[in-house]
């Protein structure tokens, strides 16, 4: 029998780490259960000659392909966008590009400004101190003065523009559009024990040099020094409740596969926009027959992904290719609503630097640019190291038919029902993607790129898992209140991307972590009457 804890956090990724660190100063007994283990940078792909090939295997972003023991399967057959994630200490921050924009003020007021979806119960200004705290903890590099976003002061200077950024900047300037070096969590100077970036270039599937911030090397060391306990290889099956309808604790399988019960005064879910609704739905009981915290039936609904429209081409000059972080520039030219475009809301352009030879060969062979037989070598030398590309990160609006449910057949290695995804791209988003493709082609034309290729949506592009347990002040229209507490279960909190009311058109990790810090702060301010 495990001793009861004050706070039990499920998931050690972006949000779980942030909330654990923030709550640590309460000196409460805080325990985090994580289904994966600690990562070992010595084994990361960029340490070996097979560094590119492993992205198709044990470092695939898809849990269905990766299939590590820590992963759970996901039935995403009924979705044009496949779920990608990472399970382990650090969660998705181990395997992300480190592109780190914040949501905009307008993203929190979509109903009032644009008449769609619903407004958030909080606003941008409320989150500003937590964005800043998170920038400091994660270590953000960037350049102040961007007219495309509200003022912010990244603690580190930006990544170099490099060849690719220079070419892209020139091209966008020819069109008179906005661009700026991206905010990123890649350290550009030595920072809080992390070494500066040495341009391994293969950032997304984990940084062997530790220059890219992931919460296993940022928040977790600080949280553990403050007394937070982190128990790895522990997969939670369900949250149990007591006779008062409060969360009593969780049933989980430990590293040996032995079923355990962990009692807790407070349970915090930080399992991402698929894992959290999965766990709530798997926690159905006689008192909560539709799943925990699901009296509205909204748990799992309103799934948002950010469909990516990727466009790339080839230029005569050599680009940075794989020899620098893929994070490069962003453009906010088409972010804010302009109804003359035929859609509301908007998108960020995220510009890349290029890819390595294996990825280039695989992709260009599949696109028909790279012939078999005679002509292969000449064609490859024209393509390899010459790619310029960008993606429109399109705002996805919440639609209830886009949802996470429990698959009736598929189960994980502990026989726990796996999630099923039903998703289709909405009309507004589809028009936005077409617009993004057309504008991206203009940028590439201005860069004198040829052989233009489009991937829309990016098939394995479901990085951002949002909206499936959204926050709000109306208990009939939301799962948690404006500070993350379940309307139904007063000692149950959610701190991950499930909270998002709308998605914005940016990579969400910065906003997810700011939200987690905000909720932790709210909890600390209300400790005396947390359950009232």
């Amino acid at each position: 029998m495990n001793d009861s804890v004050d706070v039990l956090i499920i998931g050690a990724g972006a949000s779980g780490a942030a909330v654990a660190w923030s709550l640590a100063d309460t000196r409460m007994h805080i325990l985090c259960l994580e289904q994966g283990g600690w990562m070992n940078p010595a084994n990361y792909p960029s340490t070996g000659r097979d560094w590119e090939a492993r992205a198709f295997g044990d470092y695939s972003p898809s849990p269905n392909i990766r299939a590590r023991p820590e992963d759970y399967p996901i039935n995403d057959d009924n979705s044009p966008i496949k779920v990608v994630n990472f399970n382990g200490v650090g969660g998705g921050t181990v395997m992300y590009t480190a592109h780190f924009p914040r949501m905009h003020p307008s993203d929190f007021r979509v109903k009032r400004l644009d008449g769609v979806a619903e407004d958030w119960p909080i606003d941008y200004d409320t989150l500003v101190p937590f964005f800043e705290e998170n920038d400091r903890m994660m270590g953000v590099s960037g350049l102040a003065g961007d007219p495309g976003v509200p003022p912010r002061n990244p603690p580190m200077p930006p990544l170099p523009l490099g060849r690719s950024g220079t070419m892209l900047g020139k091209a966008v300037n020819r069109l008179g559009w906005h661009w700026w070096p991206s905010d990123t969590t890649v350290a550009t100077v030595d920072y809080e024990g992390r070494s500066r970036c040495i341009n391994l270039g293969h950032c997304t599937p984990a940084c062997a040099a530790g220059a890219k911030a992931s919460t296993d090397i940022t928040y977790w060391p600080a949280a553990r020094r403050s007394g937070v306990e982190l128990r790895t290889h522990c997969r939670v099956r369900e949250i149990t409740t007591n006779e008062h309808g409060m969360a009593a604790g969780v049933v989980y399988y430990d590293a040996d596969g032995v079923e355990q019960f962990q009692a807790a005064e407070v349970v915090v879910l930080a399992c991402n926009g698929v894992g959290t609704p999965r766990l709530l739905l798997n926690s159905a009981s006689g008192r909560f027959p539709n799943g925990l915290a699901n009296s509205t039936g909204l748990v799992g609904k309103n799934l948002m992904f950010h469909p990516y429209a990727q466009v790339y081409g080839y230029v005569a000059e050599e680009t940075d290719s794989n020899r620098a972080p893929p994070t490069c520039l962003w453009s906010k030219e088409f972010y804010e609503t302009d109804r003359s475009r035929g859609f509301v809301r908007g998108y960020t352009f995220q510009f890349g630097r290029g890819v390595g030879p294996v990825v280039e060969a695989v992709a260009s062979e599949a696109k028909g640019l790279l012939p078999w037989g005679t002509g292969h070598h000449t064609a490859f030398r024209r393509l390899n190291g010459h790619r310029l590309g960008l993606s429109a990160i399109c705002e996805d609006l919440p639609e209830e038919h886009n949802r996470v449910t429990l698959d009736p057949v598929l189960k994980d290695s502990h026989d726990i029902p796996a999630p099923r995804i039903d998703y289709r791209i909405g009309e507004n988003t589809a028009r936005m993607m077409e617009h993004g493709i057309a504008r991206a082609k203009e940028i590439l034309a201005a860069a004198e790129a040829t052989d233009i290729c489009v991937n829309s949506p990016i098939l394995y592009g479901g990085w951002h898992l949002l909206g499936t347990a959204r926050m709000g002040t109306d208990p009939a229209r939301s799962v948690v209140n404006e500070w993350g507490r379940s309307h139904d279960v007063k000692n149950l909190f959610i701190v991950d991307g499930s909270l998002f009311v709308t998605s914005g058109g940016v990579n969400p990790t910065s906003t997810i972590q700011a939200l987690a810090l905000y909720i932790a702060d709210q909890m600390k301010q209300r400790l005396a009457n947390l359950f009232d």
């Binding site: 990361y44 000659r49 090939a53 007219p147 270039g201 030879p357 294996v358 599949a366 037989g373």
Partner: protein
């Protein structure tokens, strides 16, 4: 069980032959073909989780070749069979192609021929030039674009 033993001798022969069709040797660029013994050994040693799809693709290849070894066909027929396989597409053919190119483009001789160093990115990394920051001047001059609420 190694992937090597999961392919029959005939399948290994066909794998070598189709790899040589996909990427032939080039005297012009001084590179081996993907049917080179060292590259073939790398492919077989690292097939791993791709083995079943590669076997499926090789089964289809054998069917298209009339159950004849691909290497035994005359060059024109061999190329026709290869093109037919490529046109079929799908996960199996895509996986076969990927395992060939991912081993080919990490071979030291090939990597050097591309003007690259045959090494993993870590620990040496690369140098990223700073770029021309004056390009940002017209952007800096713009008024704020984000909507205030």
């Amino acid at each position: 069980m190694s992937a090597d033993s999961l392919l029959t001798p005939a399948q290994r022969d066909d794998l070598r032959a189709i790899a040589g069709v996909i990427i032939p040797a080039s005297a012009e660029f001084d590179v081996p073909g993907a049917d080179d013994p060292a590259i073939q050994a790398d492919i077989l040693a690292t097939l791993g989780r791709d083995t079943s799809l590669v076997r499926e693709a090789l089964d289809e290849l054998a069917r298209l070749a009339g159950r004849q070894p691909l290497a035994s066909l005359d060059p024109a027929r061999r190329e026709a069979v290869a093109l037919e396989l490529r046109a079929k597409g799908g996960a199996a053919v895509g996986t076969l192609t990927r395992v060939v190119v991912q081993c080919y483009y990490r071979d030291d001789r090939v990597v050097r021929s591309l003007g690259l160093e045959p090494r993993p990115p870590y620990p040496k990394g690369y140098v990223l030039e700073d770029g021309d920051w004056s390009l940002l001047d017209p952007v800096r001059a713009r008024p704020p674009m984000w909507r205030r609420t």
